[in-house]
Symmetry: C4
Subunit: 188 residues, 4 copies
């Protein structure tokens, strides 16, 4: 089985998710600057989710490039990741429209957490298909960043109960961690 179509399908889905998110930026019916300023929270959540999806696409790109082969289990682990990513427009829009209030931020965190978990599952599924001594295993390494992300998301979810803004701040920390280029996969 070739990985090409898996990459193409994932690219397609991520490209669509990243683009339809902008549809939640509803066009104001007025021409005033106030009507635009009201959109700032929705815009902020859009920027954050755009960065997340960019990170996922980027990492996915690198990971699949290191993979030599795929099987049915990998296809489904990938579909599972895409499922959680597909919920980004919903939670992004909800969190933005409600100005980052409690339940929407909680829902946002859970979706981010599940996406990170499903990405981790995908990487382990590919790893077990290639074996612990494969080039893929060397390329992926210990994946400290993946594990740290899951932990910070979890902390963000819990601290949302203290204040939603702490949650959003912690989610943003994960984005920053990943924006730093991942050297693990660029060695070759």
């Amino acid at each position: 089985m070739h990985k090409g179509r898996l990459e193409a399908f994932s690219d397609g889905v991520i490209a669509i998710i990243i683009t339809i998110m902008v549809l939640e930026l509803k066009i104001p019916h007025e021409e005033s600057i106030e009507s635009l300023l009201k959109l700032i929270p929705v815009f902020a959540s859009y920027v954050l989710s755009f960065i997340y999806l960019g990170i996922y696409w980027n990492n996915h790109h690198h990971m699949l490039q290191s993979a030599q082969k795929v099987n049915g289990t990998i296809l489904w682990a990938n579909m599972h990741l895409l499922f959680w990513l597909s919920l980004f427009p919903f939670v992004t829009g909800w969190a933005g429209e409600t100005h980052f209030s409690f339940y929407p931020v909680l829902a946002y965190g859970i979706v981010l957490f599940m996406a990170a978990v499903s990405y981790y599952i995908l990487s382990r599924t590919i790893l077990s298909h290639h074996g612990p001594k494969s080039d893929f295993a060397k390329a992926i390494g210990k994946d400290y960043k993946g594990i740290i992300s899951v932990v910070i998301y979890l902390a963000g979810i819990l601290l949302t109960f203290v204040h939603p803004k702490i949650g959003v701040a912690l989610y943003s920390v994960v984005a920053l961690i990943w924006l730093i280029p991942d050297k693990r996969f660029e060695r070759g």
Copy 2:
């Protein structure tokens, strides 16, 4: 004629269908947990349709991989399948929003049934282009699962007249059957 562009086009359409379905998950205007809980039926139908489309993409991927060549008839048989798949967001949203009431569940079943039939037609069209002794014929085998799916969908449609929930239960059985990896195409 090469199959590459057929695969790419199908991937594109399925990727878009699977993603725009999430647009039916309308963002609540309130920030309460109740407004989220109200979306559970729509969310449930989204999950179910996401799995179906994942199965179709997965099977389509395998089937086309076994095919060596395509012709004009295959292109149209494929377009016919994509047509029925394109109606998934509509019936999914309708069934979810009406909490799985009679007519929406019936419509959902008919679309699922027609998609399964059109998939079967597509496989037979490719088969007749390759011949009964081809590698494709060996790979596709008797397609018991495809035939069983059509029968269960039909039963689901009929039993929807007894109670829509029986219909939904039977439709879900088909999803479960297909989630079990299809060994027919993974042998090679």
Copy 3:
């Protein structure tokens, strides 16, 4: 310059157009059969436009396959075609929602006509890039069907002034002509 990315981009745009058209099939808020029956005209226009876009994708696929090279002019002639195709969801939805009344059917016809003209321009642009003695010139032949289509669309637009249903009937004739497989490109 390679034609691969031109094909991929066109596939992407056509795949999206064909799929977002279904968003005009607004999900009824009721669960009655009447609410579904009301959608019949919108559904009819959806089916018709789906077939048109299938034909365009199919023909585009064949034509580009026969082409050996592309240039900047061809890229823009292709973009011009995609522009008119992108208006299909709008005119399809309008014609369907107004039950095929005068102005919407006229607008539908004009968009169909312009799409056919822009397709013809695209084929001539590719032809002039390959020369009259090229394999492409042989493959594309006289393009009688393309010319006949433009004429029938024009007749349909004019006869819409008599009655919109005559217009729709003539537009459908063009779809039927093209559904008959195009032997010109399948010879090789």
Copy 4:
């Protein structure tokens, strides 16, 4: 790292942006010609943005074709460009719906300006990865057009304070400059 998936992802995003823009052309509920004529400003802004996105796709296509290799920084410079392009449907719809009034035209100009800047950054990022003596450096040349575009956008933004129509006129001048085929990349 291969550039193929970067191209495919960018194609996908641009294809989706160019297509969902048409969703801002809201289907009128009436069948009158007046209801269609009311859409002329939205349609005009759609045409303009369609041309811009066509230009970006075209130039992106040429630039990436000249590139031999990509790295993580290039991926993010590309994502940055896609971010600004993704805001085209929003500003296009807002400018059109408000009949090109002050703030919407200003917002449109800022997004156009930022897209041009991010395209310039992308080209410089690829350039620095290839080196000043590379084939890429020769192909891209001095990029006078890119610099002139940024300057005209800036002038357009400033003159919008005099009258929004002057802004729109200047934005359109940039489109015209780019519609003239770019010989720099077509030499080879």
